[in-house]
């Protein structure tokens, strides 16, 4: 049994750009949220972070793009950018696909339902139904690249990607698959943005966006994206790996009336992950958090970070990444990509700290990612440079 899993490559379709270079550049200078307009009978306008998919026709078959939903297209693009299928080196039958998506193919579901309601169940659109299933991305990745190993989709809010990653790690460590394609993807959609507006989820008057930095700000900006990483057990890795995944853990947190989350329980949760990987809390160089710019939620993230810092006996810098991609369920997949890029490039750009925190001295070798959902679940993932 192997214990170390290496990150061979990563591809993204993201609001920060569709190349790793573009994302690295955006990490230094995060772009502001952009005006979004969703056409419809009553168009919806908001600010947020959308992907530019105009490049897809250069990399993917236009005839197929017409049949796919946005989520599938984003993920196929990210997979191509990650080097699929070339990197699999003739091992497609032994490659598993593990996708995390909180909301699935919202756009395709909405098209099917809107048509069903307005046409009174006449003239249904079967292609949109087929694309509406949550595992449409995973099965399309399997189909397009001939990946015949395990094919798993986790649809569980903000921990979707981490849970999918956990299953990939298990399959790799037990030798059930040789390579794992792990993807975190969610899309923006008219109805989701509209419902978010009605629930006051979105920021409306701010042009800058820096999670963890402003305690009084309320709401967040909607986002979307797909991140695909290719993992393998260490014996199949090589010098080009971006880093290694030491472990991942998902669970439910206990609530607390005053601090929202029971900090002692959350601290134990993180320490259990660390101890299962043989890492001390004091070895964590950076915490990369799923903070989304809503002051109340960010405060919870800061408190959990402070709890681990207290236990470690040393300062652990806290950074955020949703200023690059906006807030969406599977954004932790993009966070994973950001962390891997930091490890691979050997630097943590200042843009991740929002100017308020201290940039770590020296090199960052171990990064702990942490995400929570208001529904009561949380997850953590530990990455280390090679």
């Amino acid at each position: 049994m192997v214990s170390r899993v290496e990150i061979l490559n990563i591809g993204v379709a993201s609001p920060a750009g569709n190349t790793l270079e573009a994302v690295l550049s955006a990490m230094d200078h995060p772009p502001p949220p952009a005006p979004l307009r969703f056409p419809g009978r009553d168009p919806v306008e908001a600010e947020g972070f959308g992907c530019d998919l105009s490049q897809t026709r250069e990399l993917l078959d236009p005839a197929k793009i017409r049949r796919w939903g946005r989520l599938q297209t984003m993920s196929l693009l990210a997979a191509k950018k990650a080097g699929l299928p070339e990197i699999l080196n003739g091992s497609r039958a032994q490659t598993g696909v593990y996708v995390g998506t909180g909301m699935g193919s919202l756009g395709e579901t909405a098209i099917f339902l809107e048509n069903m309601i307005l046409q009174k169940e006449n003239f249904p659109k079967p292609a949109h139904f087929v694309n509406s299933v949550h595992n449409a991305v995973a099965s399309t990745l399997g189909l397009e690249f001939g990946l015949k190993g395990e094919n798993i989709t986790v649809a569980h809010r903000e921990i979707s990607f981490d849970a999918a990653l956990g299953h990939a790690l298990s399959a790799l460590r037990q030798g059930r698959v040789k390579y794992a394609v792990v993807c975190g993807a969610d899309e923006m959609n008219y109805f989701q943005v509209l419902a978010g507006s009605a629930q006051n989820l979105w920021k409306t008057k701010e042009t800058s966006f820096q999670p963890l930095a402003d305690g009084n700000s309320r709401g967040t900006f909607p986002g979307e994206g797909s991140a695909v990483c290719i993992l393998t057990a260490d014996e199949n890795g090589g010098d080009q790996s971006l880093g290694s995944v030491l472990g991942v853990k998902c669970g439910r947190y206990k609530r607390d009336t005053h601090t929202y989350i029971n900090l002692s329980h959350a601290g134990d949760f993180l320490e259990e992950l660390l101890s299962s990987t043989g890492v001390q809390a004091s070895e964590v160089d950076l915490m990369l958090l799923g903070a989304n710019g809503d002051g109340r939620l960010d405060a919870v993230y800061r408190a959990v970070g402070a709890e681990l810092e207290r236990r470690s006996g040393r300062k652990i810098p806290q950074a955020a990444f949703k200023q690059l991609c906006g807030d969406y369920r599977a954004a932790s997949g993009f966070g994973f990509a950001v962390a891997a890029l930091c490890l691979g490039s050997g630097r943590v750009p200042a843009g991740l700290f929002g100017g308020a925190a201290t940039i770590p001295d020296g090199s960052v070798k171990t990064i702990l990612l942490y995400h929570l959902s208001r529904s009561g679940v949380h997850s953590a993932c530990l990455l280390r440079s090679l």
Binding site: L113, V154, R173
Partner: protein, 397 residues
């Protein structure tokens, strides 16, 4: 070294019964749970045979303000835990986790949101509270006080069996001692119209493996199994209803909806699960097939079974006619059927079969029959060429 995984409790909510006793009784009597559809307003599908749960789910669950999937999941989970802990309070559950398969979550309410928005201009966002599939697993965890992993698997119609596979994997690897695993789904107009748009609904009710079959009957339900390591189960003297001996998942990589006609992906899943269990095909005494009654599914599945088992094929039955096709719940419901078959030493029948399709080379079990079975196999298939195989072995008296 992998740890042994055992089943110490099961719970089921279905059109054929809202407990394992009721469900087994329906299977024994050959009583189908299909009734004319009336649950949701649908001009097109009213009256079509479906597996609707008629029990008062709100009252049974005590979750009056919740949605049907969450209610069914909590009822099934409570049944399973009650069987697993017949005497003591299940305090050990705090460390346990839950993985459920779910396809559409509270979609029926999301549809109402959309309908009111589109036709009346009303934004009643409260209706979206249960939109996400994750809702049912969280309801179970909250209700039973579980703080281990809490996840939702959504691989279409194989979701429930994949949830069982992934929970078993966690226990076998030593990551956790106990998981509640299963599947859940309820009706929505999305699924009715979706499968209808693909011309996959049989207006006469599903007839798996029959020459005249025309498609599926939709259904709803939930099933939950308490899975735990054999060591901890024996230590606390829990009832060991069955052992989970093998599991596997594969992808056809063939088509978005149709299975590979030669059953290649299913064949690989069966062989992989057999390999993991250390069994030969001859060791399997009964196969509970996915058997949706679509032309393509039954032929592909039969090809795979025939390929692996050949002339020594054990009896095969699809129990979809009893429950309807319950999507994400299907694999979990059928895993519970397998546990009950082992426990009661009997093979449930393939209801709805008149004339076997000559292109489905399987040995179909037509009648309920007592049989001294030791190892059974449950197959599940889903959109996207998703295949799952579970092998269950007789438990301990």
């Amino acid at each position: 070294m992998k740890r042994e995984v055992v089943v110490t409790g099961v719970g089921i909510v279905s059109a054929a019964g809202v407990s394992s006793v009721e469900t087994w009784s329906s299977l024994k009597e050959g009583k189908s749970g299909l009734t004319p559809f009336s649950l949701l307003s649908s001009k097109k599908y009213a009256g079509v045979p479906t597996g609707q749960v008629s029990a008062d789910l709100a009252a049974m669950s005590g979750l009056e303000r919740s949605c049907r999937p969450d209610q069914m999941a909590v009822i099934a989970a409570r049944q399973a835990v009650k069987e697993s802990f017949p005497e003591a309070d299940p305090l050990v559950l705090e460390k346990a986790g839950v993985i459920l398969g779910a396809c559409v979550g509270g979609m029926a309410q999301s549809e109402l949101f959309l309908q009111r928005l589109l036709l009346e201009g009303v934004e009643d966002t409260d209706l979206l509270r249960f939109h996400e599939c994750a809702s049912a697993a969280e309801a179970v965890a909250e209700n039973l006080g579980l703080f281990g992993p809490c996840e939702t698997i959504s691989t279409a119609c194989s979701s429930g069996s994949n949830a069982i596979f992934l929970a078993a994997d966690r226990i076998a690897s030593g990551e956790i001692d106990m998981m509640l695993a299963g599947g859940i789904d309820s009706f929505s107009r999305l699924t009715l119209n979706g499968f209808g748009s693909l011309l996959l609904i049989d207006a006469e009710g599903c007839r798996p493996f029959d020459e005249q079959r025309k498609g599926i009957s939709l259904g709803e339900g939930a099933a939950v199994l308490v899975l735990e390591s054999g060591e901890t189960a024996r230590r606390r003297k829990a009832p060991i209803l069955a052992r989970l001996s093998g599991w596997a998942n594969t992808c056809d990589a063939y088509h978005a909806t149709a299975p590979a006609p030669d059953g290649d992906g299913i064949t690989r899943a069966i062989r992989s699960a057999l390999g993991q269990s250390g069994m030969a095909p001859a060791d399997i005494d009964y196969i509970n097939a996915h058997g949706t009654a679509t032309i393509e599914n039954d032929r592909a599945e039969a090809s795979a079974i025939s390929m692996v088992f050949g002339g020594g094929m054990p009896p095969v039955s699809s129990t979809k006619r009893f429950f309807g096709h319950t999507f994400a719940a299907a694999g979990a419901i059928e895993a519970v059927v397998c546990v009950l078959a082992l426990k009661n030493s009997a093979i449930p029948p393939n209801a709805g079969l008149n004339q076997l399709d000559s292109r489905c080379p399987v040995r179909v079990q037509r009648n309920f029959e007592s049989s001294d079975i030791s190892n059974v196999m449950s197959l599940s298939l889903g959109f996207g060429g998703n295949n799952n195989c579970l092998i269950l072995t007789r438990g301990e008296e």
